[in-house]
């Protein structure tokens, strides 16, 4: 609640300035900070901004009424009325130098009434309005404003529900691949791992439904186990976000969020159908939600359910099919939520299940087999929906219980408990037939997590969150072949993220301490060198960022961040052949943790017809863990190129630029460029597997018509430059050629079809059926990347 002081003197004015927090970029820039201006005659100037007390968002079109009471000297009172503009600002000139009453009203908010004393000076005030209804939804949103505040000092990109439904691809990775700073490691069209600023797997944290995704993400071929239809927004945070999210976020975060379960409203939902021509994939997703389910004991409950199914056959490169790359998916989720006077609570249960084939050619025996596979043109070139060996089966089940307590004086506490069970089975071709139905790798991962976050009320302009996070995880290694040992992992952390805003400057600081303990269990088999033992790591991470509003619509930020990451179990104990590359990988149990020190700067420019976002960064990672070629490993099977996990000092630097320009009313031109340079500082030379430079340019024309709805047509090109940063130790010749792909799109939202309104979109990816091999593709030694893909998407709300 705003202090309603009846005497606004000099001291309380400074309090007001400190409390002013521009949420829109340009908010305060146009309201210059006239501190204590000298009174200029009997006319006073009152100006300020109206914001939502919880989210900090500016409230446009709010009514601001200044009332001057009748006094003995002025017979009648006077009333001045204005509306706040698009940035929530208002401005009153020529007010009498007396005590006035200001009322601020907006739909959905409780009216704010205050008295201002204008006798000695002008006033600049900030009004925080409290939502009248939906107070509880706002509180649920409050916890997510962490991400919003972080967005002022970090480079982030978000795809909202509308953008998602127009660009949803075969996998989550494909959906976000055109965002700046993002590249993909793909195993054909069915597996895509996001790469943020050159870093991937255990350096990119994936969050789904507010929980850190624990799905054995250390494997390069383990794609995030997330239903991309079950998302209302996907956000990519680039750079070290470890204070809020934990050690894995050393490279960045991919957040998949769902909207809060409704607390009012009748049943409604949607049916979505996506068809992909390249792999002849059909995907069907149905969702429904409502706010008026009546349950015994609990009362009125909101709910949401979703069911998704996909079936795809072999992917197609321009000249041949990628044999055995089909996949299936069967996912479902259900959420129940209540909103009461004390806060909100919800329970969510979800299941993700997939079966995917692995390119048959990529599954080789020894180095000679690999040589043969690399030089032979694919012969098994027929389309099939069948999935044979080698293949993978993954199930990911989650349970999340979340409660948010709305405490007095704008305090809120959020408690999230998550239970995740990930079961991954990989089947290969080897061995006698009687073992063929047993998985080669059979890994079960159980994770329990508990997060408690306290968002404290604004205090002297300081706004922030203090939280703790705990994880208890256990892994079982069953199956014929060794990959990683069984282990237990315990993690606890304490963190605080605060933001202080004064005038044009906002300072964002965070500090986090983690304790991580890993206990591995000996593998009872000759020749597997995994020792039993416990190791623990303690370290801190922190960040300090400053954002400054240079001018109306232009702001810059600079941020320094220190982050760290302990070595994962596979980096310490891997031992065995990685079939797709005939690499014999050896872990190193003595690896130290990685420590990164990063500096980044972002620039945001906003005008009605031009938006530009730019970011530059330099990240030095001490103890950077990677696979280094060593001498060949000889086994009874033959010779394999040997690789050992080792550490070096690395530096990653890069630049990202994205812009959106509207030169004419219905024309939008977007560009996106990403540059990443990774250097091995100890040995000199580039780091392995860095994404090549890329630029995407696209143009889109929009319009609207009665029965056709809001339509759009566009074309674009993605251009990837040759990768000339290939390290010397690379054993095989990797594809480094650049390429350009053309993309076309068309569609419309709100098309009238009979009695329904539907959204339709059509995309053609790689429209010219270009032959290419991306440097990061894991099938790059064997086959080209996918050819033309015609995608049709239909969403029908009901």
């Amino acid at each position: 609640m705003q202090p309603h002081s009846s005497r606004f003197n000099c001291a309380s004015f400074y309090v007001c300035v400190l409390l002013a927090s521009p949420s829109g970029v340009a908010a305060l820039a146009a309201a210059p900070l006239h501190a204590q201006t000298a009174p200029h005659g009997p006319e006073r100037h009152v100006h300020g901004i109206v914001e939502d007390s919880v989210t900090g968002r500016a409230i446009e079109q709010a009514d601001v009424i200044v009332e001057i009471a009748p006094t003995t000297r002025t017979a009648a009172g006077a009333t001045f009325r204005k509306r706040t503009d698009d940035h929530g600002r208002f401005d009153f000139l020529d007010l009498p130098a007396t005590i006035v009453t200001i009322r601020v009203r907006a739909i959905g908010y409780v009216q704010d009434v205050r008295t201002l004393d204008l006798t000695s000076s002008d006033r600049l005030i900030t009004v925080h309005l409290i939502a009248a209804t939906n107070m509880l939804q706002e509180i649920a949103v409050r916890a997510d404003t962490l991400a919003e505040r972080l967005g002022r000092v970090m480079a982030t990109s978000t795809l909202n529900a509308a953008a998602l439904s127009k660009t949803r691809g075969q996998t989550l990775g494909e959906t976000i691949k055109n965002l700046p700073g993002v590249a993909l490691i793909q195993f054909g069209p069915s597996i895509a791992k996001p790469v943020i600023r050159g870093l991937n797997s255990q350096r990119v944290l994936v969050m789904n439904a507010g929980m850190k995704q624990e799905d054995q993400q250390w494997g390069t071929e383990h794609a995030p186990n997330i239903d991309s239809f079950d998302a209302s927004s996907v956000t990519v945070v680039r750079g070290a976000a470890t204070v809020l999210y934990g050690a894995d976020a050393i490279g960045g975060v991919v957040r998949v969020d769902q909207a809060a379960v409704p607390d009012t409203g009748r049943l409604h939902g949607d049916v979505a159908i996506n068809l992909f021509s390249n792999s002849r994939q059909g995907a069907l997703s149905m969702g429904a939600e409502g706010g008026q389910l009546r349950l015994p004991v609990v009362g009125t409950t909101g709910f949401r359910v979703r069911f998704t199914s996909r079936a795809a056959g072999n992917g197609a490169a321009p000249d041949y099919y990628l044999s055995n790359t089909g996949f299936r998916e069967l996912n479902g989720s259900a959420t129940l939520g209540v909103a009461r006077s004390w806060g909100t609570a919800d329970v969510r249960l979800s299941r993700f299940g997939t079966e995917l084939g692995v390119l048959r050619q990529a599954h080789v025996g020894n180095a000679e087999d690999l040589q043969r596979a690399m030089t032979t043109e694919p012969t098994d070139s027929a389309f099939s929906y069948g999935i044979g060996r080698p293949n993978q089966r993954v199930e990911h089940t989650t349970l999340r219980v979340r409660t948010t307590f709305a405490l007095p004086r704008e305090n809120s506490v959020e408690v999230v408990y998550g239970l995740q069970y990930n079961h991954r089975r990989e089947y290969d071709n080897h061995g006698p037939l009687r073992f063929r139905n047993e998985p080669a790798f059979n890994l079960k991962l159980f994770s329990n997590s508990l997060d408690v976050r306290w968002t404290h009320p604004r205090w002297n302009g300081l706004r922030g969150t203090v939280g703790t996070s705990a994880l208890a995880q256990g892994n079982q290694t069953l199956g014929k072949a060794f990959l990683i040992p069984g282990y237990d992992l315990w993690q606890t952390a304490l963190y605080a993220q605060e933001e202080l805003v004064f005038g044009r400057v906002s300072v964002n600081a965070g500090l986090r301490g983690d304790v991580i303990s890993q206990t591995t269990i000996a593998y009872a088999d000759l020749g597997i060198r995994s020792a039993a033992g416990t190791r623990s790591w303690k370290n801190g991470s922190g960040s300090l960022g400053v954002a400054y509003v240079l001018a109306d619509g232009l702001d810059v930020s600079v941020r320094a961040a220190r982050a760290w990451r302990p070595p994962t179990v596979n980096e310490r104990y891997a031992q065995g052949v990685h079939h797709g590359t005939a690499q014999y990988e050896l872990g190193d149990a003595t690896l130290q943790s990685e420590r990164s020190m990063g500096l980044e700067t972002t620039l945001r420019f906003r005008r009605p017809s031009l938006h530009v976002d730019a970011a530059a960064y330099s990240n030095t990672i001490g103890g950077f863990i990677y696979l280094q070629p060593t001498q060949p490993v000889l086994t009874i099977r033959g010779a394999f190129p040997g690789y050992r996990y080792t550490q070096t000092s690395a530096r990653l630097r890069g630049l990202e630029l994205s812009s959106s320009w509207t030169p004419a009313q219905h024309l939008e031109i977007t560009t996106n460029g990403t540059l990443v340079r990774g250097t091995d500082r100890t040995h000199g030379g580039p780091l392995f597997d860095m994404p090549a430079d890329r630029v995407t340019v696209a143009a889109r024309v929009t319009g609207s018509r009665a029965h056709l709805g809001s339509w759009f047509v566009g074309a674009g090109s993605q251009m990837v430059r040759r990768q000339d940063g290939v390290p010397a130790g690379t054993v095989y010749t990797l594809p480094t050629a650049g390429y350009a792909l053309m993309q076309l799109e068309a569609g419309s939202t709100n098309v009238v079809l009979g009695s329904h309104h539907v959204d339709i979109s059509l995309s053609v990816n790689n429209a010219l059926d270009t032959r290419y091999r991306d440097y990061l593709s894991r099938y790059r030694l064997f086959v080209n990347d996918a050819g033309r893909d015609v995608v049709a998407r239909l969403t029908m709300p009901f």
């Binding site: 256990g474 040992p485 000759l526 020749g527 490993v633």
Partner: protein, 190 residues
């Protein structure tokens, strides 16, 4: 305070869940192992008179990174003699020892053993067949010509496994996946 949905019992419940659920995370590493590991390859050559020579190579750590042992035993072949031979694949890392050769014979249609011999003048011909009359190769004859050059010779044993690749009767090298690739030394006596 307004009526709550048992706030205290809720948090107690969460804690109980956390404790209970961590119990199902009992980590373990089941000693499943790769039971079809081949840890020893043995070559046996029998002279027409009945004398038997055996050599073998061991890979004591199975799929581990330690290189296979040096060859144990020697093969000394007389010129002008044709030997009958057999190869044996075993997994000696488990108890009782598993003879993988019987499995290879049982799945003859998915396997083939290729031999490459030196020096010139030495010819190795496999004798056994699979169910479709294509060569298998677990038994063979090795003919050393009278004119073969004396001195060092080699025998390379390649066990090939066909699943996706098609086993063809006339192949001269492995087109499937290699399960064994071992080089033996065989001296040609003067």
């Amino acid at each position: 305070m307004t009526k709550m949905f048992s706030r205290s019992s809720f948090s107690a419940g969460s804690l109980a869940l956390l404790v209970a659920a961590s119990a199902c995370g009992d980590s373990s590493t089941a000693p499943g192992g790769e039971t079809e590991i081949i840890s020893r390859v043995t070559l046996t050559l029998t002279a027409p008179g009945g004398a038997v020579q055996t050599v073998y190579v061991d890979d004591a750590d199975g799929n581990g990174p330690t290189a296979p042992s040096a060859q144990v035993g020697t093969l000394t072949l007389a010129r002008g003699v044709t030997y009958t031979g057999a190869v044996k694949f075993e997994n000696r890392l488990v108890n009782p020892i598993v003879d993988i050769t019987t499995e290879v014979r049982a799945e003859a249609n998915q396997h083939r053993v290729f031999y490459t011999v030196t020096p010139t003048g030495v010819t190795l011909t496999t004798t056994d067949l699979d169910s479709q009359n294509r060569p298998l190769g677990t038994t063979f004859t090795k003919a050393v010509a009278a004119t073969a050059a004396p001195g060092a010779g080699t025998v390379r044993v390649l066990l090939c496994h066909y699943d996706s690749a098609v086993k063809v009767g006339t192949a001269t090298s492995c087109a499937g996946e290699t399960d064994i690739n071992i080089l033996f030394a065989a001296t040609i006596a003067n």
